[in-house]
């Protein structure tokens, strides 16, 4: 371990390394709170990837063409991979895959609330890619430089793959918007439903986010929630205009002085309500996860038994 200030306490040395942009690796000393916060943050992110497969899985059998179906399958497979990279990163901090899944299934661990909204039309696949993955990318790109090595490396991999997700979503929206009036209507209707929940993905307002300061200090968060939300609006409003769509917020207006868009207030009551488990699909998502896990138990057990049997046979033969 590179020692920057040998006379200081372990905590101060740790902070000095972070301030010098030296990555923390699994076996390095770290404050318990740093470890715990990271396990919570990374596993929550992993759970989001896992649960995020469900609303899109909903449309695999109903994709409008073979091309779209192949793309959607590839995207859902990527999400599974992203979940795996992140679970692996969290495991280096001393938790286990089983523990993390148990926490997800018991409702103790959270995942992104955005996946508790239903995917009602094909245009929702466009919005999930364009808006939801667009928001996720804004959150994730800064995490490629986060202080914990395995997390940063996992995020580099995730970000590389995520940009295909956003582009395919935008392409779905563009195709609909250039199609028949009824298709464009479908695109607008989906945007109306997804716009506000996507803005909620950045989390509570800075004033209501008490952990932000410590997380920024540890560099496991590099921009505040409100900063990222503003960036997102600035990015997306022109893209919606390009598509000929209107974001469902009458307060959206370019502010020459700030060189940014003004926009309306998120419905925080709805935000907290979904976080607390009362969203449209909270129950359904968790139930689907638990069911998949329980129904797959025999496969996991059989694979272990098979491996043990082969090992035994190999030992006898030797």
């Amino acid at each position: 371990m590179e020692t920057l200030a040998p006379d200081l306490s372990p905590e101060a040395q740790f902070q000095a390394r972070i301030d010098a942009d030296i990555r923390i690796e699994p076996k390095d000393w770290m404050p318990e709170a740093y470890r715990k916060t990271l396990i919570r943050q990374i596993s929550q992110h992993a759970h989001s990837e896992l649960v995020g497969m469900l609303p899109e899985g909903n449309w695999i059998t109903r994709a409008p063409s073979l091309k779209r179906k192949a793309i959607l399958l590839a995207k859902v497979q990527d999400e599974a991979g992203h979940g795996l990279y992140l679970y692996s990163a969290a495991e280096t901090l001393g938790t286990s895959r089983d523990q993390m899944l148990a926490d997800l299934h018991s409702g103790k661990a959270k995942y992104s609330s955005i996946f508790n909204y239903p995917t009602l039309s094909w245009a929702d696949m466009g919005c999930v890619g364009w808006l939801v993955d667009g928001a996720a990318i804004l959150n994730q790109v800064p995490l490629c430089r986060t202080s914990y090595g395995p997390y940063a490396r996992a995020m580099v991999r995730v970000c590389k793959e995520e940009s295909f997700h956003q582009r395919q979503g935008f392409e779905i929206m563009q195709t609909l918007c250039e199609g028949a009036p009824v298709q464009k209507e479908m695109a607008q209707e989906a945007l109306n439903r997804w716009w506000w929940p996507t803005l909620m993905m950045f989390g509570p307002k800075d004033a209501d986010s008490p952990n932000t300061e410590q997380s920024m200090k540890w560099r496991i968060k590099r921009f505040t929630n409100d900063e990222l939300r503003q960036k997102f609006v600035d990015m997306m409003v022109p893209q919606a205009e390009f598509l000929g769509l209107k974001v469902p917020d009458d307060k959206v207006q370019w502010n020459e002085e700030r060189q940014a868009y003004d926009f309306g207030e998120v419905d925080w009551e709805e935000f907290w309500n979904v976080v607390k488990g009362n969203g449209l699909c909270n129950h359904e998502r968790l139930q689907a996860r638990v069911q998949a896990h329980e129904e797959g138990a025999w496969v996991r057990e059989a694979a272990l038994a098979h491996a043990a049997k082969r090992k035994e046979r190999a030992a006898v033969a030797a």
Binding site: M1, E25, G81, E161, R300
Partner: protein
């Protein structure tokens, strides 16, 4: 029900012929064959590799970061191991 996780494996990938295998991450699998297939599906979906090694994580011995200073320091004061330590007259070519 067996309360047991599949073992953890580390994955190394040669990105193209002529390069070293490089550590890319880890995964759980019941045996080596499954680890190999999962590694292909998780880490080479976009032609990232032409060859894969999987090693059960428990077989890896790592140096201790708390002893890194003592462990690696002996090399720090041996600048004469680098060619730049030596002054070569300007008129000498091909060295």
């Amino acid at each position: 029900m067996i309360q047991q996780e599949w073992p953890l494996w580390e994955v190394f990938i040669r990105s193209k012929q002529g390069l070293d295998h490089k550590h890319v991450g880890s995964l759980h699998a019941a045996d080596a064959a499954m680890a190999m297939q999962n590694a292909r599906d998780v880490y080479t979906r976009r032609l990232e590799g032409v060859s894969i090694w999987v090693v059960e994580s428990r077989h890896i011995h790592a140096s201790n970061p708390d002893e890194a200073a003592e462990f690696f320091e002996p090399a720090a004061d041996k600048v004469y191991r680098h060619p730049t330590f030596y002054d070569v007259p300007d008129s000498i070519k091909h060295m």
